[in-house]
Subunit: 388 residues, 4 copies
């Protein structure tokens, strides 16, 4: 077990910083990656209090200067958990410094920036991963295997929705995720990106789209603690209103490259009762599968080969040890949670670190996703089908 260690620097220490910290911390406890990650340094925004990252999350050091951190010679992996608009500069600097890079999704706020990031990692020939974490659910891995083996046959339909409800309340304040300059797009880039990537991963590349986008609540109150409208939700309302200039919901139709497959997508933050309902349905000539991340340890499988009067959707427990990753956790019927996806993600990245490729989504995948999102935005305004 005298494995080579790799030093990780994490940039950004909010929600995603917490999930990634937990991922790095647990991966060696439950899996046997070829490298042992060392949680070397966590870096926050200038002036941000980093006590929690150090004392609770387990980072050896903390910093408030990402440029310095990214260029430290002892750092092997740069893990980017910042808000979207910071992904490009950090990633490009990290690539220049020759670091392996993990970036949260969406890769960037625009396709151009994403392309620049991809160019940078290609030029630097560094390992790179974009955090489409839902790929790492055991059920999703199983569905991927089934499709690859032809167990669903030719795919007729991919039907996805990612529904949330956290901003339905008109009194929910302005936050950075509702301003284009910080986030690029709204529901589309935040959660539409996930279902688009799942379509790419499982079924094929979206090659053209038609769409509609909508902002249901067009103005939001600016909270006191929210300088520039970019941070969290706390603080009293100032009484000032600011314009929401991103989409609250995006719905789109797609066709799959080289295949006779229809895809439909629905990404919304305005579906009361849906906390984080990321659901896909795939219908093929041999069978069908259904999956939903709120109940992510199961999927439903229909096989046309089952005898006539015993056909039906089977609720498969993907938390049996025969499923991907599950053997490293608990016995049958003991579910895993959202956070485990990140442990699997870090594990796969470490497995592919040397070869610079593996069972994980790269910046190339992320740019491909970005291209679809850009076409969706274009189609929403042109009111035509647009090529990706």
């Amino acid at each position: 077990m005298a494995k080579k260690t790799v030093n990780v620097a994490m940039i950004g220490a909010a929600f995603m910083g917490k999930t990634h910290s937990n991922g790095w911390r647990k991966v060696g406890m439950f899996f046997d990656p070829p490298y042992t990650p060392v949680m070397k340094v966590a870096c926050g925004a200038p002036g941000e209090d980093m006590t929690v990252a150090k004392e609770k999350w387990g980072w050896e050091e903390v910093s408030n200067n990402w440029e310095e951190v990214v260029n430290r010679p002892d750092i092997d992996i740069v893990d980017i958990c910042t808000p979207n608009w910071l992904h490009p500069p950090v990633a490009i600097a990290a690539a220049k410094a020759g670091k392996a890079i993990v970036s949260e999704k969406p890769l960037s706020n625009s396709l151009a920036e994403g392309q620049a990031m991809l160019d940078a990692v290609k030029k630097a020939r560094v390992a790179n991963m974009c955090g489409f974490s839902y790929r790492f659910a055991p059920a999703v891995q199983k569905i991927k295997q089934m499709i690859t083996k032809g167990e669903l046959g030719h795919i007729f339909h991919f039907r996805a929705a990612y529904q949330q409800d956290w901003i339905v309340d008109p009194n929910f304040p302005m936050v950075w995720r509702l301003k284009k300059k910080y986030t690029g797009s709204g529901a589309l880039g935040d959660i539409g990106a996930h279902i688009t990537d799942l379509c790419h991963f499982l079924v094929g590349d979206v090659c053209e789209v038609a769409s509609a986008m909508e902002t249901f609540i067009k103005k939001r109150q600016v909270p006191t603690s929210n300088v520039g409208g970019i941070s969290g939700t706390s603080g009293k309302n100032t009484g000032k209103m600011d314009t929401v200039d991103v989409d609250d919901a995006a719905v789109y139709l797609g066709r799959i490259k080289g295949a006779n497959t229809l895809a439909t997508f629905e990404a919304t933050r305005f579906a009361p009762g849906r906390r984080n309902y990321n659901t896909i349905e795939i219908y093929g000539s041999e069978g069908s599968v259904l999956w939903n991340q709120e109940d992510m340890n199961v999927f439903h499988y229909f096989s046309r080969k089952d005898p006539g009067t015993l056909q039906g959707f089977r609720k498969v427990q993907a938390c049996d040890p025969g499923h991907a990753y599950v053997g490293n956790w608990w016995p049958s019927g003991h579910i895993i949670g959202y956070e485990h996806l990140f442990v699997h993600e870090m594990y796969e990245f470490l497995c592919g670190l040397k070869a610079k490729k593996g069972n994980y989504p790269t910046f190339e995948d992320a740019v491909k996703c970005q291209r679809v999102l850009e076409a969706v935005e274009k189609a929403a305004s042109s009111k035509k089908w647009e090529k990706v």
Copy 2:
């Protein structure tokens, strides 16, 4: 109870003929409509054996000549259960003869024909209903009431799918429902019509659409017993192949007239495991509802007013006596089935017979639906959003 009776003539005696016969037969047993329907005469195609209609379904007389039947002076109501392409001539003749008319859906194979039918009933000033039977599910009636009362608030999303799987098998033969000249369109007109009508009934009028349509299996074998490819599925295959010239699936996006609402529709006969899965989701500013006809006696309701830690989708049993129609059937928890929708439909038609209007969909509603379907077809080929 010495009510006025009304004499019914039913034209067409296949699947829909059976459901309607049952509807007429039961309505007086369980409900108290202002008129008592008399099952006077059932009429089949020329040469069709009508023994079952007479001896089992309970029609007093049978016939094979619809023109004669439609013009009989003793007939008050003409109920059209023929294949689609016969709806217009029968309906127009019945209107001319001054009969009240029930027509199965879709009203017609083309908008022009539907408009002609509507003109005919308007000119003749006869009561008219088009059989969008799902409106008559108690759960759907309740959802309608809730939306009318504002209990869901402003509607953000209408999300519907009507999924079937009866022709996934490539060996399933050519039938009339797969030929444009007999049926107009495929999944779109047959089942897309239903979810479009539910959108109109519950949420509002679709005013523009973008779409994609697909025929997954383009040729089908012609069975021996299937002269002209128009009747049922029995008979050995002849070895000859015929072209499917209607859609196997249609997916479309819509916007609702005068409202800030996104609607998405998916109609397909290629969803293995979905026998007759007609499902709608409605998300509004105050709450959400979900309904699915395979489990039609319940719906799921989420209220934003429930206390925070007790929020959740409620599985409401719409087969409690407080719900529409249910008090006329059985006690709480004793479910009703598909056929009961037709009993409710006939009941509502009889209630509105004198006033020529009531709680049922008219030819006007049907033409409105038809207009959407035509726009969907146009949008599929123009690859643009099309106005309805």
Copy 3:
């Protein structure tokens, strides 16, 4: 189709009278029984208004004198839908008159009476059926076939609950179903009887039991319209209270004769939210099945033979035409309801009419069930396991 007709007399015209009327009325429309039932006469209590039975339900004649009716020479079948305490005299008189007999369940209020009824039909050698209607759900028929064919292997567990909530409200008044002298027992005989019969039908005979019974609300108000506390629930409360002397709930453990099988039963009218939740779970060495009458058109099947990572409970739609009875109704995915069970029941009785046996529960089955219920009552008071 010139079948022999059989004349039916129905005694009792409340809830069960309505379901049976509908059964007799529909059976010939959808099925081809060897005899055509004629709804000859419906008989109510002395003084009861029978207009509805005649004008709506379709009985040719009505009467208020059951003894006369039962002895009419033109009657072939006597169908007993009265409250429980009248089952024995009517059935015994009908047997003496040589009539085929259908009796609602429970057969009688005591085992002794049930035995007397059984003796009477045996002596008279008349066809006899007791209305354990849930046997006639297509899903239950399928489960029976699966067990018979060994598809579930050796049965380890039968786990059943029949839960209702119609008397949870302490203000719900005294009714005949809560008085021992009219009903024999409470939840036990009314709904425990059903799950006991399902155990007998599907798994095997209960041979010994342990139990507990409870009356949660011991006094109820007597309504004005409720002379003697025996009829319905309408009428203002009189302010007088009467004692509930039957069980509100009965829970019991059982063992199956000659088998290594554990059975558990829970019958209660005190489970808020459970309208008519009759649910069974059967676990065997090869697989398991789950069924629940509130969702009676499906059952869940787990097969140990499915491949490891694709095992799971399959939601089988028992409303596909391949299932018992379903081919006579509607296409796949179009559900049937509670009332259809009675159509199937009447169909099976007519099929077995000549042979005086068939695929239906007889008085013998009913007495066997009664014996278990009596042992449950005995065990509740002895606080020991009691042999059946």
Copy 4:
């Protein structure tokens, strides 16, 4: 954050050792307990390889001598994760050494031993907890609060089942969990203990029981690697057979002390398809709740106060931040898993460490549970109701 640290020694390093290690490791990352646990030493059986515990799980030291470890002066907490038969000696030694003690459940193989353990901790006045981990599911905590506040009213029924299927295969070999001398009882003590404790925690104390117990497969093959039939399942079969002398399933009825409540319990390892299906149903005069650990992040709640036509079981997501513990994890709709229960458990123990009591089950609770299990065994053989 300069908190006092406490040194933990864990005895036993198999499945439960892994869950507890993870619990100790994560508690400080996500919660703010008043003491910071230090993972000082993990102790295995004599000769057991402890590399994983040290290098992966994060224990500072390892040992194979529990007596030595338990008596180390630097140890504050002894956490017992051994097989059942070792709980008593370790716990009693730890108590004598004045350590705070965590013991896995069941506390012991016999009531007498459990009582001795309780006496020891009482005498030593040390903090003590028994690992009934399911109490720590946020949904279970919420149900507890609801019952305490009277939101379910008077409880009529507690209905529980804990179903597994890991030994249904007759070729599954002999393991220590199937031998009385190592484990005390079978399904009863292993999983029946959990549902009994949940009844105690949520509803009240079981005061008398009737029961049946069964061993479906009476002989099992002895694997080579399984000296004495006590360890894991690996190794070829030797061909020798050994007798299973514990129950495969136990079903029991209970009554609750001082309350008019019926309780039913079903614990089995012979329910194919049920991996770890620990489910409870509670029906009260104001409402009902349902919960199942395979889907542990939700529970279903029925309120009798909901308006008539909108009543139904609500699927409440107990992974919203308003629920116990959840605010320390992830945003709404991001589920937690089985392992998190142990983090909550360690958190509560640390919170109560100083006061030696808190929101966790003590040895006293465990002995109370043990008393019920002993009565169940007695009742199974006496075939009578037995007092607890």
